[in-house]
Subunit: 368 residues, 4 copies
């Protein structure tokens, strides 16, 4: 219980079910004096919202967020920011027939064992619809961090078997997949069309990058920056794995290969992914994660009902065939929340003092 | 700051530097009435401690833990358990010459930026020596969980290029690598011998498994069981990536392939790794992680000193050529701490009530 | 920052300003399976709401609460309960002329120094209007605790110079003061009428009592039941002092007088106020608190403006001449939140086990 | 469970029982760069330690604290500070005969119900001996705060019926009572001598004052500075009541009397006790508290044993006849811990920015 809050100094607490009247959040700990209105959140909410392309669920939600408190005369006051999004397109009737049926790979089975009851309409609280509030809260963090010189961006690195081979940031926002490789977009479109026809779903890999992060964010032992990032990303629906920097490639690397050498001109590589000893190094924070394929598919599968009897499940309703597609803004939001929290924690410690040693350039020199 | 505590209801707070007088921890929240003495912790401490084979650092530490409070007449009293290990073999002189030198891939650079000062002796607080206290605390959790039918075990899945192909639990404790594949041990020995000669280091992959976990542990949104596990593992020194269940393989899986179908006799697969919607399903919790190669190597590398001037670093002193080798008991301990915390959190919610729906067998039937 | 959450396992996070569009709260950690609808909260909200007698502010607010999540088919689901009350009667124009004026004894001065900005309309976040959400959340706790045999009730012990001499619970809800002494009500009415005429305000003393609390709630050192109660009560607007049991009378008591002797039939007195060593004893929890007089009065007073220049402040607008009058349901709510949290914390530790020693009757025998 | 940590950003976690091998604490979140050695803590530990006058318990403890981590080359490093005091004079045999006897007004009854077991030697964890670690930790906070211009001091305002009428700070440290009124000391000595002879004990009132606190510390709603102070003080053994500023006198004050008027030269009074809306105003923080009489007295009293049978209890062993006498340094320490925590929390929010409005002098002008 009581696990619906993220953060220590900059906290986000969310509520709301997929088919309830509304989603909401309280963002606590935002420094005062930040210019803020709902227009700062809407672009990211629009990037995440369903129904914007034929490759995502056809549920239609405007996802318009209202600020109910914490902002006065256009700036934050330092008091909690109440956020609300009213649900509009809840077709609960789609779910009546699954009230006592446990859908494989969903949270139905574990929720029943934990709570003894569950809101079965669209997965209730376990639906990724909850992440709309994370995106809204993350947009506030992003805006504050931008004022500190930080930028957080993400992209779809891989859609099932199709991996981007080029990172063209200008491409990311021009296609419904957040794919950074223009040459792969037609391939992805064809793949998704075939997938839809088959009634199946597919996994994905998302990468997020934070630039301009000052060295010194994070705590040495348990509240490491990378540990908090791992938790943040794994808390996103469907995420099954997280890497920082070289990630699993580190297993086969030698120390002479993995370590990022330094010259006065900067680091010569970034296998660390911007985190050394749990604390930011000033290099880009690089994170990668795996999202499992959507559990709701039209292909029948063996399962049980609440009485423990065998049944066959076919999930109709409206679902994303690849939950990874809409996950990019969510992952960005979570990374922003982690950095925001650690920025404040770090400022508690040192105030605004100057760095005691020279800060290396984040960018490695061209020819080391 | 203040990031040295792990957990919510069962908390572990540690202190101590690599070359300080002692390491210590306070374990708070242990239920009363658990039979406990230091002998319950020593076996895991011995599994982790340095100097037990020629493949680990030659620093000699008995790592004998004393219980200073919280246990009376052989049982826990519900009050905080104070633990202490005195350091014995601190050769601080090894480090005098690195006082103003930043070692690549270590925490030196980020610590200096965060704190402005650092205990450079053996890495101070950033040393993996701190994990001795986690292992001690984890042993308490393991013992309590064993009383609830849970078992947590780990092994070395891969040492650089050499991957175990067989999981023979009986083999794990018979070799210094925690390798579960008897056929790979000679290969690993030869690899490590050559590595030592070269003055280089290598990465590793560790797996941990929790059996007997009841369904219902974990919280739906941020404090998911898998999110907490990801944080716990990423908080271990050198860990750069974490997977639950199918992990990164999920990226290329189809939904029809990934989802774990259910029959009244049990789950038919375990791609979920025992976690559905952030909550345990009753299946084995399976976790895998990557550890980067040791940063301290004898091969020279470019770096800078505190003044930002270029230097060349050669790390002498005593170091593990593969930090992954000793990480198995640490990963087990962290998984035990997560499960212990969520066991208590779940009991807060429901008391000791019976499960509302049938609990499926954890083991899939032989022939589905 | 981030100080808008109360509790550890049963948490209440509130947002909202006096004259913003709405007040809201997220109640996290409520056990599943509790029958709940807004009708469970409305009676306490009505007891607290303004405009119900001529002795409180004439602002009119229906204070109708909506449940936005966490309840499905009439029972709680274990997921966060979102609550919302829309503000209706915000006459912000009353406040335009105080935008840069610091009202004595209000939070204006300290808020300006903390935040650099403030919502001056009705005190913004510092208004006691925020406590509506505490009352709503407290009603949920009260209902759960009632199912465990606990009852929490309060009353006005003293209105300025007029102290109740009789505790008649049946009287409390029959008068606008929550006064338990029928003979004092006319006196209070006359006093308040004169006070209103004078443009001044007055302090009050509120008592709350929890009956049926099982022994064992609370933690030994910092999170003592009485420490958490003290914090909870002092967090109510205008509270300046808190007593448990004998309170300040303890200063002049001898040990032989203060200690509550025990027989197999029960405790012989209750100077402890139901808390021994920070943990409930099974006796009634008795709490008393002082509320300062309302700061907003019509009598002019010296102050400064934002520029530090001397001004004279006369507070018009609509205000309670005695904030203590409406504080009884708030104090009850806070005590319920503390007990709810500790009930869950205690259950985490022990599950639902039987008490190891005989539980003494809460009521002392008639003739010791 | 898990209630042995105080604070949010500057945290103190303690362990240890009255008659165990040692007491310890981990102080986490101390900013780096603070010059610190055990000599900074010893004076306050000596002020609190037993056996220094004939008016306190005759148990002899050197209470010498060792710093085990977190300090390197004489300054704090930002990592957790491990503190240890070994117990020396544990005469556990004094307690063998009370193993199954419940002492009235002690924590015996409530601990048994909570934990099912208890360390009965000297009260185990419920002994005020634990507060030695709070005093040590508080001394670190005091030192840091002194560097920010803050000073925290306390005194015994009342010993049973004898109240100080003069506040002479120079007097406080010259007598074993921390009494600020030189004329009352002989009276107190005579009172205590008679009390010792009678085998009884007496209550006390302690006041603490923080000077130089900048405006802006504290959070608006639940984590108010005064709420945290109330919790901190009530967490001290034997404290039954807490007042801020005018405290219970507020009940009979009128608004025109209570409110602290302001001129550009300063506040004209301090009924608020330095806290407005939960946030410091820059005036002195004034706190008063009641301590109940020692529960361990030689006069026999009715009680029960673990089996619920009637017994008569006479507490021998060594005890303070007035626990209030040694409480002054403890109350100072707790106030320092609260201010330290809020200083850091406030700095997280604003960094080191200048105050947006003029700061009034803390001292009221002589003739308003």
């Amino acid at each position: 219980m009581a696990g619906n809050t993220f953060g220590t100094l900059f906290t986000v607490t969310t509520f709301g079910e997929s088919h309830g009247p509304a989603l909401g959040a309280i963002v606590d700990g935002c420094p005062p004096g930040l210019a803020l209105d709902s227009g700062d959140m809407q672009p990211d909410l629009d990037r995440r919202k369903p129904g914007t392309s034929r490759f995502t669920t056809q549920r239609r939600e405007a996802d318009e967020v209202r600020i109910l408190s914490g902002v006065f005369e256009g700036v934050t006051t330092g008091t909690p920011i109440g956020l609300l999004i009213e649900n509009q397109d809840q077709r609960s009737r789609d779910y009546a027939d699954i009230a006592d049926r446990i859908r494989p790979a969903h949270a139905d089975y574990s929720y029943m064992h934990k709570f003894g009851v569950r809101d079965y309409r669209g997965g209730g609280r376990s639906s990724a619809r909850e992440t709309a509030m994370r995106v809204a809260a993350g947009a506030i963090a992003k805006k504050f961090l931008a004022g500190q010189g930080m930028r957080i961006r993400g992209y779809l690195q891989q859609l099932g078997p199709i991996a981007a081979e080029v990172l063209d940031w200008d491409c990311v926002e021009t296609n419904p997949f957040f794919c950074p490789d223009p040459d792969k977009i037609p391939e992805m479109e064809a793949y998704m069309a075939a997938l839809n026809k088959s009634g199946d779903s597919i996994g994905a890999r998302i990468n997020v990058v934070a630039e301009g992060v000052p060295p010194g964010l994070g705590e040495p032992i348990f509240d490491r920056l990378d540990a908090d990032i791992a938790s943040a990303m794994m808390s996103i629906n469907a995420v099954k794995a997280v890497e920082i920097g070289a990630g699993f490639d580190s297993v086969v690397q030698r120390g002479s290969e993995h370590r990022d050498l330094m010259t006065p001109e900067g680091f010569l590589s970034n296998n660390a992914g911007g985190v050394l000893g749990g604390i930011s190094s000033g290099q880009d924070i690089t994170v990668s994660m795996a999202l499992k394929p959507t559990s709701s598919i039209r292909q029948p599968g063996a399962s049980i009902n609440h009485a423990g009897e065998p049944i066959e499940v076919v999930t109709t309703g409206r679902h994303d065939p690849c939950v990874g597609i809409r996950a990019t803004p969510i992952a960005e939001a979570m990374l922003a929340l982690v950095l925001m929290d650690h920025f404040l924690r770090n400022r508690a410690q040192n105030g605004d003092v100057e760095s005691p040693t020279p800060v290396l350039p984040a960018e490695a020199p061209e020819s080391p």
